[in-house]
């Protein structure tokens, strides 16, 4: 299932992007995850998306919490600064990093244990703050590193590898992201790179809090009969509402699709999302409709994937805070220190 190619080879004929980088230039260290892990597929999708988007690897800051998913930033974008923070608290660290330098691309990688349990609060608050980031939850419904405990996204009634039945209701992170104010909400499946790669590209192009819930089966602890996060289950119950391509405007746009089948969505950075509708009446601009749609299908046991919601006029945290367009970490003392004259006046006011 994994389509992350290892080991790294540099064949002279490998295709290059606009930055003269091959896809391999976006890889990281060799993964230490289990063979077949869905997380490796997501890493591969990130690599593919960044390469296709001509993202400068060193202009990406990749942050994660703790867990199998949170190990993955070491396996892609080896020329980027990475940060394994603490369990569940990646969002706050990413928020701080974003405050310090708004010019980088922030990629937050987390798991369902990391984000839906210990980190639920921070997930909620970074969504409502509109932190400009791509927040990917690699969702396998299980704690892998501690060997198979249920996470908060595990469905009620699903079983663990040891046969224990989960009695708790699951948290739906997509539903929460929609409610919390995320301006880009999507769900995908690690085994569907044709859907996942464009979704990641779209999330990168989006300014604001972009959330991607990616079902990512755990081959070691949650890929068995009775699991609702297994490859088999998700493939059987997946309903994709749309397929999309992201086309930066700087490139010539070639329309390969018949009119009427496409919905074009312009992003802040000028790129255009082209949604090919599968669900005939699905409109990704309507937050309430997205909530209803996903809930209705979830009740039927279906996993809705695709771009579920996008606000093309979203603003981000820096706009809310009215911070300077320049990175705060680059401001010089003359811009920060009010100086002696001001201090003399302050002293006079304290008498």
């Amino acid at each position: 299932m994994t389509y992350l190619a290892k080991p790294k080879l540099h064949h002279p004929t490998l295709p290059q992007n606009k930055l003269c980088h091959t896809r391999r230039d976006y890889e990281g260290k060799i993964s230490t995850l289990c063979a077949g892990c869905g997380h490796d597929s997501i890493s591969a999708a990130i690599i593919q998306a960044c390469w296709e988007m001509d993202v400068e690897p060193h202009r990406v800051a990749k942050l994660s919490g703790i867990g199998c998913s949170s190990k993955t930033p070491d396996y892609f974008l080896g020329q980027s600064h990475g940060f394994n923070t603490v369990h569940g608290r990646m969002p706050s660290v990413l928020t701080g990093a974003n405050l310090a330098n708004r010019e980088l691309l922030y990629l937050g990688v987390s798991g369902d244990g990391d984000s839906a349990s210990i980190g639920l609060g921070q997930f909620a608050h970074c969504m409502r703050r509109g932190v400009n980031m791509v927040y990917i939850v690699e969702n396998n419904g299980v704690y892998g590193l501690t060997k198979g405990q249920f996470s908060a996204t595990a469905d009620q009634g699903s079983t663990s590898k040891r046969g224990v039945v989960n009695s708790d209701s699951p948290l739906d992170m997509v539903g929460m992201a929609l409610q919390l104010g995320a301006s880009f909400v999507a769900r995908s499946f690690s085994g569907d790179k044709h859907q996942l790669v464009p979704l990641i590209k779209a999330a990168i192009a989006h300014r604001g809090a972009a959330f991607l819930d990616v079902i990512s089966p755990c081959v070691a602890f949650n890929n068995h009969a009775g699991s609702t996060k297994s490859y088999e289950y998700v493939r059987e119950h997946n309903e994709a509402v749309n397929r999309l391509d992201v086309i930066p405007l700087r490139k010539e746009i070639r329309v390969d699709f018949a009119a009427g089948e496409l919905l074009e969505v312009e992003q802040h950075d000028g790129s255009v999302l082209r949604l090919r509708k599968i669900a005939p009446d699905y409109d990704p601009h309507n937050r309430i409709a997205a909530m209803n749609y996903t809930q209705e299908h979830q009740a039927k046991g279906e996993v809705v994937t695709g771009l579920l919601y996008i606000d093309t006029n979203a603003s981000d945290m820096h706009e809310h805070l009215h911070t300077t367009a320049r990175p705060l970490n680059a401001l010089a003392a003359r811009e920060l220190c009010p100086g002696k004259t001001a201090l003399d006046k302050l002293n006079a006011g304290f008498r």
């Binding site: 980027s80 706050s92 928020t95 701080g96 330098n101 705060l328 920060l336 100086g339 201090l343």
Partner: protein, 615 residues
């Protein structure tokens, strides 16, 4: 028995007993400031409950021409405006002292003292007669008693009126009504009461250039001047006003005049964990970032503090300490987080602590902490407390050297990387334990690294190898040792004559300690003192202890945390350090320190003057 009334000029204590939420705070501060404007030093303490309305609150003003800024202990004039605390308030008055109260209603039932002088004034009656609005009746009662006191104590009303005009600049209606209330009080005293009383304020010239400010305001300015651009915080008493002051001054000084954009970012986080997380993220990415909190906040932050220590990320934490443990006494002062901060987090951790003694040093240390955090790439704690943080204190003016450059520490630039300089994130290239770092986005293919709390090799590659772990934790210790020379050094004050007694203290204990030393000298007890300004300790601390037979460690917590820290760090005999502890939540007083030390020395049955050493 009627005791002779206390007679004192510019040297007495007035205490106001009020009800929280009655609007007395600004009136009481007005009283203190008017005396200050007459050139007489004052030292006020606000003692307030952990609620908004209804519970007792006190404001104690020490009028001190000699400039003693610690609490003295005892009350010479009690302004008893709270029937709820009437009995307790009365007990605090010194024999011969004064009780000022609202006699609109009969005295509350109590065993009345006959050794205090009672001054009754129908405050409620006057206000009810003058004002129809219930809120005005309440608020102006406070101004009326300030007016009355100004007559009784001979405070120049022009100073009070000037303060009003500053406060209500552009709000003529408020100015007029406050001046009117002031004179209502003065007129009543003039017509009905003997005045002045034995306590009086006489114009002096002892304030000089000093300023009157609280530590949280000064600390916030230290962060502004020190170049902090990111503040992430979560409200908690007694630290909240620091973040709020930072916001106020940023709005004043950090808005780009051309673009109107903010050269700062302040986030009120969802909790303390998120606030320190944001500071860690911002510090990792090269911004000068800080949070401000108190004990329970530090508890929540400790996991991140450990990460910042291990991953070596600049972090500044201003801890305005309060009474713990747990919720403890949220609005009372202590120095009880020394352990919690010095060794915050699990495993072997040690953190740099700075101990300001007053608002002036809150400014200095907050700015210095930002430099130290960048230089040492580690968490730096500024250990202030409620007493300094929330009380206005007379202190030296805030100073800033225009030529001062921010110390951004060892950041490897793109040019240095391009020139081929070897970059190992955790390489100790200079032998000081401090490695170079790069900021995200610096160079296209050089200098990137992966930050983690887990162990790694010198090139930031994940490693569980024992030698790599040892290398890192030993280097961290070497870095901590380097910090010794970078942090503020202890302040030694030698006694007038050689002595076998020494005392160690720190932080807000400072003014009470200075006064206690003078008091002890009158009993022929001489003390050398050492004021600790930071942890790690300078070697001079061990030298000081070795040079004295008895060393008192004066602090404001139950378990003698600083004493234990000294014992632990220097591995010295605990018997060499004698505890002097004050931890009821009120600021330590000079009387307490002097009495405790004198009693201990007398009980040791040793000569207070070391003849041998004198010779």
């Amino acid at each position: 028995m009627m005791v002779k009334p206390i007679e004192a000029i510019n040297d007495f204590v007035v205490k106001f007993a009020n009800v929280n939420g009655s609007g007395s705070a600004s009136a009481n501060e007005l009283f203190a400031k008017s005396i200050l404007r007459m050139g007489v030093p004052v030292s006020p303490r606000n003692i307030f409950p952990s609620n908004i309305q209804g519970l007792p609150t006190w404001y104690e003003v020490r009028v001190t021409e000699a400039g003693h800024l610690g609490r003295r202990g005892g009350v010479d004039l009690m302004v008893a405006m709270n029937p709820q605390t009437w009995n307790a308030d009365l007990k605090e008055i010194e024999p011969g002292g004064y009780l000022f109260y609202d006699n609109s209603k009969p005295l509350p039932a109590s065993k009345f003292r006959d050794d205090v002088h009672v001054i009754g004034m129908p405050l409620t009656e006057i206000c009810n007669r003058t004002y129809s609005d219930p809120r005005q009746r309440q608020l102006f009662k406070n101004i009326v008693y300030v007016g009355a006191l100004s007559m009784l104590l001979e405070i120049d009303p022009a100073e009070i009126e000037k303060l009003f005009s500053e406060q209500y600049k552009g709000k003529e209606k408020l100015l007029t009504s406050n001046v009117q209330a002031l004179h209502l009080g003065r007129d009543y005293v003039r017509e009905h009461l003997p005045h002045p009383i034995g306590l009086r304020v006489r114009r002096a010239d002892n304030v000089g250039e000093r300023i009157f400010v609280d530590g949280n305001t000064a600390g916030a300015l230290g962060c502004v001047y020190g170049g902090a651009t990111v503040c992430a915080w979560y409200p908690i008493t007694p630290s909240s006003s620091l973040a709020e002051a930072f916001q106020k001054y940023c709005m004043k000084y950090r808005v780009d005049s051309v673009t109107g954009e903010n050269n700062y970012a302040i986030v009120q986080a969802e909790d303390e964990i998120a606030s320190i997380g944001m500071v860690v993220g911002a510090g990792w990415n090269g911004a000068r970032a800080f949070t401000t909190t108190s004990g329970p906040g530090v508890s929540l932050m400790t996991e991140f503090i450990g990460l910042a220590y291990m991953a070596e990320i600049p972090v500044t934490i201003i801890n305005v300490q309060r009474g713990g443990p747990s919720t403890g006494m949220p609005t009372r002062t202590q120095q009880a987080d020394v352990f919690a901060c010095a060794y915050a987090s699990h495993g072997d951790t040690k953190h740099v602590l700075l101990f300001p003694e007053d608002p002036h040093e809150c400014f200095v240390h907050s700015a210095a902490a930002l430099d130290l955090a960048d230089r040492l790439q580690t968490p730096i704690f500024v250990m202030t407390d409620l007493d300094i943080g929330m009380n206005q204190r007379l202190c030296a003016p805030l100073l800033w050297d225009e030529s001062r450059q921010y110390d951004r520490g060892k950041i490897m630039t793109a040019a240095e990387l391009e020139a081929g300089r070897d970059f190992g994130r955790y390489l100790d290239v200079d032998g000081d334990g401090i490695p170079f770092r790069t900021l995200p986005g610096t160079h296209a293919n050089k200098g990137s690294f992966f930050t983690r709390g887990t162990t790694k090799d010198a090139y930031a590659r994940y490693s569980e190898a024992g030698p790599d772990y040892i290398y890192n934790v030993q280097r961290l210790l070497r870095k901590f040792n380097t910090a010794k020379s970078l942090v503020p050094q202890p302040v030694l004050r030698e006694a007038a004559q050689k002595t076998r007694f020494g005392a160690i203290y720190y932080g807000s204990t400072s003014p009470a300690m200075s006064e206690a030393i003078s008091a002890l000298e009158t009993e022929q007890i001489h003390l050398d003192t050492l004021r600790l300004c930071a942890f790690p300790f300078s070697d001079s601390v061990a030298d000081f202890i070795a040079a004295h037979d008895v060393v008192f460690v004066v602090e404001q917590n139950r378990d003698a945390q600083m004493r234990s820290l000294i014992i632990n760090e220097f591995d010295i005999d605990p018997a060499r350090l004698t505890r002097v502890l004050h931890y009821d939540g009120t600021p330590i007083t000079a009387r307490f320190i002097a009495r405790e030390i004198a009693n201990r020395i007398h009980s040791m049955n040793v000569a207070t003057i070391d003849q041998h050493r004198v010779a």
